[in-house]
Each structure stands twice: as C-alpha cells, then as structure tokens.
C-alpha cells in the first residue's frame, strides 16, 4: 500500500486546527515512549459536546496528519463518544495507516480517552 492516504497527506501538508485554545474546557497530552511522537489536544465544550478543538503535535508526518484529522472529527462528540473510539476506527477514519504507522492510531486513541477522562472530571476537583 502507499505510505500515506490522500487524507493524511492533505492534513500534514495543510494541517487544520493547529494551536492551543485559551482557557480550554478540557485538554490532554500523550507521548509514545518508543518513537517520541507527542500530541496535545485542547477543546471547548458546549451542551456537553465538543464544539472546537486544537492540536499541537511533534513526530512523524502520519502522526501530524492523524492529529489534524482527529481535531476535525471529534467536533460534536461527547465524552462517551470519545471513550468508545478504538484504533480500528481511527485507522479507517484517516484512510488507512501503513505498517509501522499503527502507533499513530494508538496515540490518537490514548489522547481521546484521556480527553474523555478530563471532560468527565468535575471542574475544580483536580
């Protein structure tokens, strides 16, 4: 298979939602200890659902593309939706990942689950 799907190429050449939201309602950061890839998400929530998301990422092109895709995809999701996301869903959503890029899906799942946990945590309890 090709090393990158068309969608991943589009997102790592024209990343969407780059940056950090000021005073976000929730945020999450994860890192892959093996390859060093890192993703940081910040989101704003309205009526229990994500209405805006931003990402910062450091790593391979597939990881950057995946992070960008995820920020567009999760708008409209609530914490329970995020908690149900698995690697297969992410892989399908990004148009497929080549061998050696599966860590990108794993990283996305980890950051979304961490975000779900943060959203479920009552404010002021941290």
């Amino acid at each position: 298979m090709a090393r990158f799907s068309d969608e991943i190429i589009e997102h790592f050449t024209h990343p969407k939602n780059v940056g950090e939201l000021p005073e976000p309602d929730a945020d999450a950061s994860v890192a892959d200890p093996v390859c060093g890839d890192q993703v940081h998400l910040t989101v704003r929530v309205g009526d229990g659902r994500i209405c805006e998301a931003r990402f910062l990422a450091h790593g391979c092109a597939a990881a950057l593309g995946t992070a960008s895709i995820v920020t567009a995809w999760i708008v409209g999701m609530g914490p329970e939706d995020l908690a149900r996301v698995d690697e297969a869903t992410v892989t399908q959503r990004v148009g497929g990942l080549a061998p050696g890029q599966s860590h990108c899906a794993r990283l996305a799942v980890e950051v979304l689950h961490a975000l779900a946990d943060d959203l479920r945590t009552p404010q002021g309890s941290e």
Binding site: A2, R3, F4, D6, I9, E10, F12, T13, P15, V18, G19, E20, D32, V34, C35, G36, D37, Q38, H40, F55, L56, A57, H58, G59, C60, A61, L64, P99, G100, Q101, S102, H103
Partner: protein, 411 residues
Amino acid sequence: MHLQTTYEHRKGVNDVTCPPPQRGRERGPALYFDNNATTPLLPSVRAAMSEAMETFGNPSSVHFCGEAAAALIDHARAFVAVLLACDPEQVVFNSGGSEGASSVIVGTGLYHLRDGGHFITSAVEHPAVLRACEFVRELGFELSVLPVDGAGRVDPGTLQTVLRPDTRLVSIMHANNETGAFQPLYALSRVAREAGVPFHCDAVQTAGKERIGLAEGFVTISGHKFHGPKGVGALVVRTDAPLQKLIFGGEQEHDRRAGTENLLGIVGLGAAAGAARARLEDPNEQFRRKSIGDRLRAGLSSIHGAVVNSPTEGCLPETVNVSFEGLRGDTIVDVLSARGVAVSSGSACHSAHPDPSHVLLAMGLPADRALGAVRFSSSCLTRRDEVDEVVEITEQTVRQLYATWRSVGTA
C-alpha cells in the same frame, strides 16, 4: 557506435526523468534534490544505451557478433580509465558500489582466511563497507573502526597508530554520502602505502564530480551516481594485492569477475564517464557547480532553526546536510515529498522507531540533531531557479512544522 563525450544542457531533465508525484503535489514540476541517492540518466547516456541495444552478441564469443559487443565494452572501459586516470586493464566492471566494496573487503578476507589478520575502516563509511567489514570480522579477522572528528574526517595520524604488521586492508571513503565531507584521501593512502598495506577507496560519491588519482590501491565507483545506469559500476585495481574472486565461471574482466558482461550497463557507464570527464575539464561547469552548491547551502542555512552539518571546507559542493532544531528529518522529508521535493533523511523511522544517522553520531552530534537532519544533494543538472524554489518550499515547510509544536516556538 557514437559515444558522446560532452554533457548535455540541463534543460527540462526533471520533467523527463522524474514524473511529478501523483498525489499531494502542490506546485510546479518535481524538484529532485536527492542526487546522492541516484541521478537521472543523461540524454547522451540514454542514446548510447539505446544504440547498444542493437548489439546482442556475447562479448566472449569469437565470432563477429561477439567482437562487436567486446568492442563496445573496450570503448566504455577506455572512457572509465580516462575518468579515473588508470590503465584500461585496471578497470573491472561490476554491478556497482556494494559489489565493489564486497569484492575488495571480503575478497581480501577470503584470500587471507588461513592466516587471519586485521582490517581498518572508519566509523562513517557506507553500510556496503561497514557490513562487509563486519562480515570479515565474523570470519575471524580483527577490525579497527577509526573515529572521526566533528567534520567527519579521519586523522591520518590515528591510522598510523592503528596499522599493524598483519593489517590486510584499509578501506576509507573519498567523500561521505550523507555530509559530503572529504577524507584526507591522499594522506591516508600514503600512510597505508608506506606500511605496505593495500588501500581501498569508496569513491562512489566523488566519481564523476572530482578527480580521483590514487596511485595505488583499489577504487570503487557506481554508474548511477553520476548520470549512468543503475546496476553497473567498476572497481579499479591498481595494486598487486591478492583478492579472492567472488564470482566463478568464465575469465571475464581479466579473470577477476566471472559472468557475461552487462553490456548495456557498461556502455551507459562509459558514456557517463565520458560526459563526467568533459565536465571536470570545463572551468565554467566547475564554477557553476560550486555556485549552485553555495547558493543551496546559503539558502538552507538562512532558514530559522537550521544548522548545517556538512563541513564548510573540504566538502562536496553538491551535498548540504542540514538539521532543523527540534524537528524530525523524516517528517520534513515526507512533507517535502508531498510538495514535490525529493530529498532524503539519514535517519529512518522503522517500525515507529527513528534511528539517527551513524555518520552524524560518529561526528559527535547529539541524537536529537542527528534525527533532525535532511540531506539536499544537487547534480550537474540542477538549475539556480530550482535551488531558489527548493529553499522557499523548505522554509515554508519548516515554518509550518514549527507552528505545530509549542516547545520550539512560533518562528
């Protein structure tokens, strides 16, 4: 047969030989800056090979068909000999750089298998040399891997101290494929010669670009690095040092390498050697070559976060190895590729685990900087406007990548 000895103009070569990527390309024709990996065929080389397709005889056959094929090989051998300043009978055609290195290193090891002994190489060699040296170590030989300084160079004094009475071979490259750094070749080979030890020079990156006039020893070259075809190269043997040949059968190549010759490849190599010789003798081309290299280096080094790893002096002008602080080289390569720019990274992300370049680590660079390295390599076909465009696209790409990660700032 007509073999052109002049080089062609650079008109439209990328349009012809490197079709733009099917996906992700955003602008203009493809920009090929990975000439240390391989180079496009010159039109004169292509023409010579096309013409040679009419000649199908086996060069070993005694009849007229064989004679015609043998004449083509003799012709090509003469061009390679002129390029490398050696006698034609000292040229052994083979399949390229890896075979050249193995035939010298492993061939020396097999010849001395019963006596054992010692080999010397450097820490920044191409894997073709390093892996062959590791193989002879597995055969029971001792191996010394010489360190390099911050510019990637071996100290001849260090070589002097490591040489032993039973040293069988010293193998050190002419210029590094990742950084372009020249070794002090003549000083190193003199040290070996004075100790009576055969010297092997991997000249794969310099053949066709620089004059190579080693008076003694072995020289390895590869055709596709200087606009010849892939799968063909040559080993120059300017020594009486014994080698065990690795391929058995007929007595082709002065009984040094058996097998029916790669006629088309050899004709292409000869044509490329002729064109390269003309470039070496053309002062305008030599000026142009340095001017392009200087422009590429200056443009890339002006990009925010750039640190050039190639030495300022004593470096192939065609090679600029540059790290971008805090970024990963493999990521830059992938994004540039999607934008129609072909470059390479010394590191590789295998199974999600990036490995920094052994060359840059040997030079003492921190792993992070080595992981951020990208190699841009031009050729005699590279135009000034292409240099400007590749610098501009790289600058945009680096700025974009910095923006996606806060720890590096927002340049």
